[in-house]
Amino acid sequence: MFLADVIGTVVSSVQIPLLDGEKLLLLRPVAPDGKAVGKTRIGIDRAQAGVGDRVIVIDEGNSARQILDAPNGAVKTIVVGIVDYVERDGEYIYDHREGTSVSLETPRKKVGA
């Protein structure tokens, strides 16, 4: 499992039947301090999350199939929780209870990266 910021929504009406009615979120994986790490991906929402939330994501097939109760489903990425706060060394490095929202700004690519 890893943390990710919900930065957008994805709408798809023609897709495999298993995904019908599922809300798809655009997720940017982040380190606990909020720094973007890894590739932006799409996850199925099972936590009533929305844009601006920091969430817990599972990107593994067996867990996903278990959650969706689909033993042969082609699914992998699922949003399973909304993060209230992240504490490190006694300090809150992210606190959703204060109404903070994640940044939707996309970090610029490094030149030549």
């Binding site: 930065i7 957008g8 929504t9 994805v10 709408v11 798809s12 009406s13 023609v14 897709q15 495999i16 995904l19 798809l24 655009l26 940017r28 590739k39 932006t40 991906r41 799409i42 996850g43 199925i44 097939g61 996903a64 042969n72 489903g73 082609a74 699914v75 992998k76 990425t77 939707l104 996309t106």
Partner: protein, 119 residues
């Protein structure tokens, strides 16, 4: 699952058993800006997508599960068309936000998006 743009078709007459009739398409994964993210790859298509379409795909073992025969050597599969991918006020599915090719005009991009599909 990731966002991707279908950039071409791949035709292979000789295939592994079980993959007969499965369309193979060449895709470029995209980030939240609609720009290319990582290498292009070949994916099996579970939908009738074609070049120019914005789609979402799954990678790994789950790719094979999207095929008619689930025990096949496939590690990426297109699962659906993306009608809308909203990041803030921007919709990546809008033609306006498609990455322009060099020397590309809006008319040429529109023509490409409405090009009739073969096969």
């Amino acid at each position: 699952m990731y966002l991707a743009r279908v950039i071409g078709r791949v035709v292979a007459t000789t295939r592994s058993p079980g993959l007969e009739g499965v369309p193979l398409q060449w895709i470029q994964p995209l980030d939240e800006r609609g720009e290319g993210m990582g290498d292009t790859l070949v994916a099996a298509a579970a939908i009738s997508s074609g070049p120019g379409d914005l789609v979402h795909f799954v990678d790994g073992r789950e790719g094979a599960l999207a095929c008619p025969e689930p025990f096949v050597p496939v590690d990426a599969a297109i699962l659906g068309f993306v009608e809308e991918a909203a990041v803030g006020a921007k919709d990546l599915a809008d033609l306006e936000h498609r990455p322009a090719e060099e020397g590309d005009s809006t008319a040429a991009r529109e023509e490409r998006s409405h090009r009739p599909r073969r096969g």
